[in-house]
Amino acid sequence: MINENLAHYSNLFIALALVAYAFAFFAYCGEWAFGSRSRIGAKAAAVGRSGQARTAAAAAPEDAVASVGASGVSVLTRTVQEGEEPTVAGGSLRAEIVGRFAVMATFIGFLLHASGVLCRGLAAQRVPWANMYEFSCAAALAMAFAYLVLLVTGRKARWLGLPVSFIVLLTLGLAYTVLYTDAEELVPALHSYWLYIHVTAAVLSTGAFGVATIATVLYLVKAAAEDGRLPRLGGVLERVPSSGALDRTAYRVIAFIFPLWTFAVIAGAIWAQKAWGRYWGWDPKETWSFIVWVIYAAYLHARATHGWKGRAAAWIALAAFVCVMFNYFGVNTLLTGKHSYAGL
């Protein structure tokens, strides 16, 4: 039985989350606007640049960063450490304060958002991701979660805040206005505990791929700026981490989540075996999940292939995410297959 009260609260929480995310988004905008160029930013950019243009033998000692600790050990590193990457706020106190407010608003938005999703699940007594409205809410939640995890684990990831809050706002807004459908019970096709396993993995992966995509796009922009091709944006981009760091973030997120996506596809196959009697049947959803998987595999290969590192690999990652999006919106709305369920 559906608990109408809880369903109502769920909608309320989602609406409030939208408001909080909107605050966060404007605050991040403020942080970018008020921020200033920072000295470390220039340094990291320089190291990033030399990292870009590197050839194997070009590890010039000039790029090294040295320090002598109290222990009498002197340390020489050629990698830019996390702490040395520039921040969006630069050195500006005002920007820093606004930035912290933005993070707080994101966090509050996340809590409201999570409550909304939770109430929806409790209202319908099932996992709250069984139709497109719910998938969208959950994927946006996964994205906000991935971002907050990066922050909480001590990564300097606030530069992700602006694009993440924007996309979360967009996804959630779209879900709330266009895709909304009442909380109801499941269609028989979804009556299976594999819904919990398979769809949870898929939703988490989608959110994380989204974060990786933001890093990839920023990487391409920043790399172009480092090559001097975007003189107008130079000032703003000084405060984004070096292209090397962006590239690494994108790779790390993809490398971390790719096994989960692989698992999601496999769990889907196991479910298909149980539901339809075959584990693979080239249904459009299966086909596009396979395409996404293969392109991300190509990305991982590209990064290990001489001449494909960097920009070429980044474009592959973008192509992969386009396929993720098509697999979600395109396959659900344009193509018919076994994966068409309640309220899309």
């Binding site: 020489l76 009442d182 690494r248 096994p259 009697g277 075959r278």
Partner: protein, 580 residues
């Protein structure tokens, strides 16, 4: 390890600034420690002078290169796209026929390109066969190399440790042996594999960790082969079939019992398990209110089955996601629909048809489409074609429509024909459509309701008399049918096992960092010794900065630090050009 080897390595081993894999360096360095992220250096594509053997060798090298693997992966994903955009015979043959009807010129061309059978096509097959050949050619040598690397020792320390991405050093008064022993002990304790040696520059300890990464990578790729094998086994030794059963009827697992059956080459008719199943009752429930009205909520096919003619009868409830298993063969509930029950009398007053006729649902409210064929009626064969509306909404001035999927107010709307049904023309006919080419349409004008046009409109219990004394038809009620899929796939456990290994392998391959640390102790000339600790990532972003720094600090604390009198001019003055 000999001195000569060591020197050579020191030259080749020039790490890059980002601590990214040094694989690009290639050359002699590639031999001993080929590692996970170090792709085989793709030598420039230069076709050698033709000799068949050289050519084959060259082609093989190209095929097993990372670049080709990358290209083939791409091709595979692109090749899969038309399979999702165009209707596929394997999935829905009727859609393909529809497509042929709608695109008279294009369909045959696309068909010649096998675009309606993408996943069985020659070109799709060619891509994945090439990919897997490439995979074998890539993975087998790597497995051997990795096996040897696991049994060997980490490579000797490069001559100039300062060129590595992270380097920590201090001066100590402790003897070299003590420093080396302490370093070796610490690294071993941290589960590094270590080796020690001396060269002209002093003595060193080499350490490496994270071999499981490459193991994981190999397991993953081998598991992909396992999946391929499993699919092939399923193809040869498995079968799948479908059968539509109306309430009150059943079928047995014989070739004749199926509506459709696909068997692997290695399956004979006698291999089909001898079970029988009867559908006693089918129930469905639907959402009754809200914005998801009409969405299905439960399906239950209550059935009775016998595993073999001699075994006892068992009652089961087959549901979506809950198949029943009979000796390894699975029976799934795949679809459902309505079968109106009708009685047809011919012109002589004889009952020529009495029973359910399966109709196919065509929309969310289960408007169903079908045909009733009575070829043996006298004086003329009779046929009816039309729709069943499970919950009919009939309003003057608009088309009758079904507004809910459950059978709450079923109405049959039929166009009647008389004549030759063409059923023995030799061509197979769909049971859902009538061949009216040799029949005439009967004028059954229904005065009561203009909306029904020239069609019969019957509620349950109603009858209609056909014109010209051709007979009558009565709509007695509605039964439901269920479609069962029967599938047997012996490759499935292998696929599952391989998939599990693939995920585990991936986690290891992407999650484990592989790195090397070297410790070198050299005489400074003023009675102290310089201890250098340096590290190199063997995989993306694995530069062991913290490990190297901590190791150096721990060793410094252990051994004691001697300050350098020449600090100011000495080598330890950091050069920090980038921050200036």
């Amino acid at each position: 390890m000999t001195e000569q080897q060591t020197d050579k390595r020191a030259e080749g081993d020039a790490p890059d600034a980002q601590g990214a894999p040094a694989g690009d360096v290639g050359g002699e360095f590639a031999e001993a420690g080929r590692l996970s992220t170090a792709p085989r250096p793709d030598t420039a594509v230069a076709v050698p002078r033709l000799g068949t053997r050289e050519l084959l060798r060259w082609m093989w090298r190209q095929l097993t290169s990372m670049r080709i693997a990358l290209t083939l992966l791409f091709l595979l994903s692109v090749a899969a796209i038309p399979g999702s955009l165009l209707p596929q015979r394997e999935i829905d043959p009727s859609k393909v026929l529809q497509f042929f009807g709608a695109h008279k010129t294009w369909a045959p061309i696309l068909d010649r390109l096998q675009l309606f059978d993408v996943f069985e096509s020659v070109w799709f097959g060619a891509i994945y066969v090439l990919l897997f050949v490439s995979l074998v050619g890539c993975i087998l040598p790597r497995s051997v190399a990795h096996y040897l690397a696991m049994r060997g020792t980490p490579p000797a320390a490069p001559r100039n440790l300062k060129r590595l991405p992270v380097h920590a050093s201090f001066r100590t008064g402790a003897p070299a042996e003590q420093a080396l022993a302490a370093a070796g002990k610490r690294l071993k304790h941290r589960r590094f594999r270590t080796a020690a040696g001396t060269d002209t520059g002093g003595a060193w300890v080499a350490a490496e960790k994270g071999y499981l990464r490459e193991t994981g990578n190999l397991v993953f790729h081998l598991a992909l082969l396992g999946i391929l094998v499993a699919v092939a086994i399923g193809h040869f030794f498995g079968f799948k079939g479908a059968r539509l059963v109306t309430e009150g009827t059943g079928f047995c697992d014989t070739v004749a019992g199926y509506d459709s059956l696909t068997k692997g080459q290695a399956v004979s008719d006698a291999d089909l398990p001898p079970f029988c199943i009867r559908l006693d009752k089918f129930t469905a429930s639907y959402q009754e209110s809200g914005d998801q009205i009409g969405q299905p909520r439960t399906f239950d096919a209550y059935a009775t089955y016998q595993a073999s003619p001699s075994s006892p009868q068992q009652k089961v409830d087959v549901r979506v996601n809950e198949p029943i298993t009979v000796n390894g063969t699975n029976i799934f509930l795949e679809g459902h629909g309505y079968a109106p029950v009708v009685t047809v009398k011919d012109g002589e007053g004889k009952v020529v048809y009495d029973g359910p006729v399966t109709f196919l649902g065509i929309d969310a409210n289960f408007t169903s489409n079908g045909a009733i064929k009575v070829p043996d009626a006298k004086p003329k064969g009779l046929g009816f074609q039309g729709y069943l509306l499970p919950t009919a909404l009939i309003m003057p001035g608009s088309m009758p429509a079904s507004v809910f999927p459950a059978a709450q107010n079923p109405v049959l709307i039929l166009t009647a024909y008389a004549g030759n049904l063409n059923m023995d023309s030799g061509e197979s006919q769909s049971v859902y459509t009538l061949d009216t080419s040799r029949m005439t349409r009967l004028d059954v004008k229904n005065k009561k309701d203009a909306a029904s046009g020239n069609a019969l409109m019957l509620a349950v219990g109603q009858s209609a008399t056909l014109p010209n004394g051709l007979g009558s038809i009565t709509f007695d009620g509605v039964k439901q049918w269920a479609q069962f899929n029967i599938a047997y796939d012996p490759g499935q456990p292998i696929a599952l096992g391989s998939a599990a290994f693939a995920v585990l392998g991936l986690v290891g391959s992407l999650g484990i960092r592989r790195r090397r640390i070297w410790v070198r102790v050299s005489e400074t000339g003023d009675g102290a010794r310089l201890v250098e600790v340096a590290g190199l990532a063997r995989t993306e972003g694995a530069t062991p900065t913290a490990e190297v720094t901590q190791a150096a600090e721990a060793l410094a604390a252990d051994l004691g630090v001697v300050p350098d009198e020449h600090e100011q001019q000495g080598k330890s003055t950091p050069r920090t050009g980038a921050s200036a």
